[in-house]
């Protein structure tokens, strides 16, 4: 198995507040990882450190065997580690199509190549293929600010993955989405990422989503990972039940079709 991500003794302090402490994890190709934990547990801080948005106070982060500490988000992105956002980061005044076109343009060009025309038939075809993969073709010409939340989330993820990343980190892909739509949305996302053979890591509060779509869970609590185990084990873990998911949650509902 190829190692995608390796994190050692990662720590982040904001003044006296410890936002992340003693984080040691590894990710192999093909793993789907769910990051769970209460608000303020350090999940997004972790994602921000790995993607270069926040410099860690100490520790090592290796992506595909190469240290990414000190790199900017754009450099980490170019290496093949991409992310989506809890609040979709798209170009609101533009159409879905133009959003994607710019995304591909930036991903495919550098240096003087940036002065070549953005509109090319080949690139437009790639945009349409990506819209199809994320099942948002019908919104092709809609302005991004007018999109339903779920579509905007898909657009955000479609833009984040134009480089066919090795690893993608999704920050709460289903937040702000109604309970009925969550599973359909995740199906689209996971299917699309599977086609691209991308390793996925996502932050999620809904345990039914976690149980269904990941095979491994990291539970964050007060800046530390209190549990790193398979999904089934994590759901039974005492500490996880006490600090993250609550005693009332009974795993296995998904298979029972509770959501359907």
């Amino acid at each position: 198995m190829t190692r995608v991500l390796e994190v050692h003794d990662l720590e982040k302090k904001f003044g006296g507040v410890v936002a992340a402490h003693d984080i040691n994890v590894t990710v192999d190709v093909g793993e789907n990882i769910g990051i769970i934990g209460a608000n303020g547990a350090g999940k997004t801080t972790f994602v921000n450190m790995v993607t270069g948005y926040l410099p860690p106070s100490s520790g090592r982060i290796e992506f595909m065997g190469k240290s990414v500490v000190g790199l900017k988000p754009r450099d980490v992105t170019k290496l093949g580690l991409c992310r989506s956002f809890q609040v979709p980061q798209v170009f609101l005044s533009e159409t879905v199509f133009d959003n994607m076109l710019v995304a591909y343009g930036i991903a495919e060009r550098s240096g003087l190549g940036l002065f070549t025309p953005l509109h090319t038939e080949a690139r437009e075809a790639r945009v349409d293929a990506q819209l199809k993969r994320y099942q948002i073709s019908e919104y092709r010409d809609a302005t991004a600010s007018a999109l339903p939340q779920g579509v905007r989330k898909l657009l955000d993820i479609a833009m984040a993955t134009v480089r066919n990343p090795k690893l993608v980190m999704l920050d709460e892909p289903t937040s702000g989405i109604s309970a009925e739509e969550k599973f359909g949305l995740m199906d689209i996302i996971m299917q699309a990422l599977k086609e691209e053979e991308t390793t996925v890591m996502f932050i999620e509060h809904d345990m039914e989503i976690v149980e269904r779509f990941v095979n491994r869970v990291w539970a964050f609590y007060q800046g530390e990972i209190i549990c790193d185990a398979t999904t089934a084990e994590a759901m039974k873990d005492e500490k996880v039940r006490e600090f993250v998911i609550g005693q009332e949650y009974h795993p296995g509902h998904v298979e029972g079709g509770a959501h359907a």
């Binding site: 900017k72 754009r74 992105t77 609101l92 930036i106 940036l114 025309p117 038939e121 984040a160 134009v162």
Partner: protein
């Protein structure tokens, strides 16, 4: 790239040919207005590029001044060829834009606008104080030559007009193509969402820096043409903050829809100013201010939006007609 008919390109080309013909019939004062419009239009194209990025500069007279004073200073050492003067004027302005860009690219909104103004006022202060740079009196500009040729009489200004028109054409077509390139389309991306640009793999600051240098080059070129047109450079008319204000005025007047509209806007501004001053010398600023107010209230997207307004009205009228037909 021209899978479809590029209207702007052909519009600009037609405009250039029209100017060539017009040049034969223009009276001298009209030609001067035309030259000043081309000069300020060039600067405004640079501001358009910044504007699309979400940035306004209240200090582009800085680069305008670099262009103009480069002409004056090079003539002192005996260089009179317009091609050399143009090259050096834009290069000096571009170089300063490149250097200042490292600082400016870190700022946005009002801070960006006023920091530009601060730098332009520093240059103003230096030019106004230093005797060898002409102080507040400025420096006179000698007649220029074209690769050794020196047209006489009316031909002198006609040649200058042709030169300015061709240069403006090349710059406008270049800017138009640039805006359609990947980097040019990043104007929108940076304005809308810098975080997304970073996470797509490009530096928003670098994108802004490139645009800043382009706008500096264009402003320098405008300064070169203005210096030769007016025949004189001084801090008040080349670098003062009001000069920067004129450029912003033209940008608002023209709108950011199209580079061609910028030159039309520059001409309208020039005419407005000339006639307001001629017919109402006491209140000409009031007329300019009133026009700006009118534009902002009724044509917030500038002169360019007249076109789409008309189209909308025509469509509405057509829709109303077809509805009546259906009703009948």
């Amino acid at each position: 790239m021209t899978r479809q008919f590029d209207r702007t390109f052909w519009g600009l080309t037609a405009g250039l040919l029209f100017l060539f013909v017009l040049n034969l019939f223009l009276e001298e004062w009209m030609r001067t207005i035309g030259l000043q419009s081309l000069s300020r239009g060039l600067v405004a194209v640079g501001l358009l590029i910044l504007w699309r990025t979400g940035l306004v500069s209240f200090g582009h007279a800085l680069f305008f001044g670099f262009g103009a004073y480069t002409v004056a200073l090079m003539q002192i050492v005996g260089v009179n060829d317009i091609f050399v003067l143009m090259f050096c004027g834009t290069a000096v302005a571009g170089l300063f834009a490149f250097l200042l860009g490292f600082l400016l690219r870190q700022y946005r909104a009002i801070f960006f606008a006023l920091l530009n103004m601060a730098f332009s006022m520093i240059l103003y202060g230096v030019l106004a104080k230093v005797e060898s740079l002409g102080s507040t009196d400025g420096i006179g500009i000698n007649q220029i030559t074209y690769l050794g040729l020196k047209p006489e009489g009316e031909g002198y200004r006609m040649a200058l007009f042709v030169f300015a028109a061709v240069f403006a054409y090349i710059a406008a077509v270049g800017a138009h193509w640039y805006l359609k390139s990947t980097l040019g389309m990043m104007t929108m991306a940076v304005r809308e969402n810098e975080i997304r640009v970073e996470y797509l793999g490009y530096s928003a600051e670098r994108a802004i820096h490139v645009k800043y240098v382009i706008s500096g080059l264009l402003a320098g070129a405008g300064g070169v043409i203005m210096a030769i047109t007016v025949g004189h450079v001084d801090p008040e008319s080349m670098v003062y903050w009001i000069v920067s204000g004129d450029f912003v005025f033209i940008t608002i007047l023209s709108g950011t829809g199209n580079v061609g509209a910028t030159f039309i806007g520059a001409l309208v501004y020039e005419l407005l100013r000339t006639y307001a001053f001629e017919f109402a010398p006491q209140i000409w600023q009031l007329i300019l201010g009133g026009s700006l107010l009118f534009i902002i209230m009724f044509l917030p997207d500038g002169l360019w939006s007249i076109r789409s307004e008309w189209r909308n009205r025509r469509n509405l009228a057509a829709a109303a007609r077809s509805e009546t037909q259906v009703a009948e």
